[in-house]
């Protein structure tokens, strides 16, 4: 009994850490979708992941939807000369054959606009991403810390 409980707890602990998870659609591989927790009342949240095109044709992340927010957009942010700018990418994000595109803090990201509730550590945010050629794929953004494999690097320093 006690052992079962301990095993269950160990399972919970493992599930609570930011384990890498992957998805495949067509010739695309999607690595570890994750989000940061958001402050109280925040209207916007971010989604980060990597997309690798293992095929011979270019593809493009076009759009997406989520039940956690009113809408999902693809954006790029930058801090240049001390000024923060954020721009929507209305034509989406191209992924060349053989290329891995990183959506990470400080650069390309998925913007969740009109959050139904703040994102808290441990939350799982379901989303559908639509690619020009590979089609649609269901992914889950894990809310927590950046993955340890460096895909969360970007401008993060901790």
């Amino acid at each position: 009994m006690r052992r079962t409980l301990l095993l269950a707890l160990a399972g919970l602990l493992v599930a609570g850490t930011a384990m890498a998870h992957e998805y495949s659609v067509g010739s695309l591989k999607i690595g570890h979708p994750w989000s940061r927790p958001t402050p109280a009342g925040a209207v916007a949240g971010g989604g980060f992941l990597t997309i690798t095109n293992t095929g011979k044709e270019p593809d493009r992340l076009l759009s997406g939807t989520t039940t956690a927010a009113d809408r999902l957009e693809i954006h790029e942010m930058s801090v240049t000369d001390g000024i923060m700018r954020m721009r929507a990418l209305p034509d989406g994000l191209a992924i060349a054959p053989g290329q891995t595109v990183k959506l990470a803090p400080g650069g390309y990201h998925i913007m969740l606009i009109g959050l139904k509730k703040p994102l808290a550590i441990g939350d799982r945010v379901p989303a559908r991403l639509k690619f020009e050629k590979a089609g649609e794929v269901k992914v889950t953004f894990l809310v927590g810390n950046p993955p340890a494999d460096g895909t969360g690097a970007g401008m993060e320093h901790h």
Binding site: R36, T38, P39, A40, G41, A42, V43, A44, G45, G46, R71, E73, H75, M77, V79, T80, D81, G82, I83, M84, R85, M86, R87, A88, P90, P105, G106, H109, M111, I113, M155, H157, H158
Partner: protein, 194 residues
């Protein structure tokens, strides 16, 4: 004097001010005092109380301009400032840490109050009318601009960086975005010791 000019040049670069305005400010013909940063303002805090530049005097100040719709720079900077206050311990009560919204249409006092509930309770959130925010941003050399989003609504471009003042309200340096999350602790301690 020379140091003050270089500090100002540094701030201009950091804040991304146009070359001309910085050249003029740092010109040796004009005393640095004419190129002051900061100025009089009257805004409201997250409790709906009036808050003016006079309320900052007597304590060193760290001030940051942002907005709550902001995805990354603003929550990260507020989290950093929360960390600085914690690191200062009891001295955290002897500094002003201020977040001024450059998106007053959405950031009402109650929105600010809710949002700032996720950070150190000593952080003052300030908002006002569009004209009042325009004035304070100009005084503090902060750039901001509304940018429409294709799916509706808008986001804001804005100067990302924390500006420091000593207890008499004199400009005392700036802290850029990103890097060591504890990078503000040293400068604030230094200002407390002055």
């Amino acid at each position: 004097m020379r140091r003050a000019i270089w500090a100002l040049v540094g701030l201009c670069l950091l804040l991304g001010l146009t070359q001309t305005s910085c050249d003029r400010s740092a010109s040796p013909e004009k005393p640095a005092a004419t190129a002051s940063i900061g100025g009089p303002f009257r805004l409201v805090d997250q409790d709906g109380r009036s808050f003016t530049d006079k309320d900052l005097l007597g304590k060193p100040t760290a001030i940051f301009f942002g907005f709550t719709f902001c995805l990354e720079v603003c929550p990260t900077t507020l989290a950093d400032m929360t960390r600085w206050l914690a690191a200062l311990g009891p001295d955290g009560g002897r500094v002003n840490v201020v977040f001024v919204s450059i998106d007053p249409t959405r950031d009402t006092p109650s929105v600010l109050k809710h949002y700032l509930g996720s950070f150190d309770p000593r952080i003052r959130g300030l908002t006002g009318t569009e004209a009042e925010i325009d004035t304070v941003a100009r005084e503090y050399r902060v750039y901001y601009r509304k940018v429409p989003l294709p799916g509706g609504g808008y986001t804001m471009d804005h100067t990302a960086g924390v500006v420091l003042f000593d207890r008499s309200g004199q400009f005392a340096g700036a802290i850029g975005y990103g890097g060591d999350p504890n990078r503000g602790v040293g400068p604030l301690r230094q200002l407390l010791g002055r």
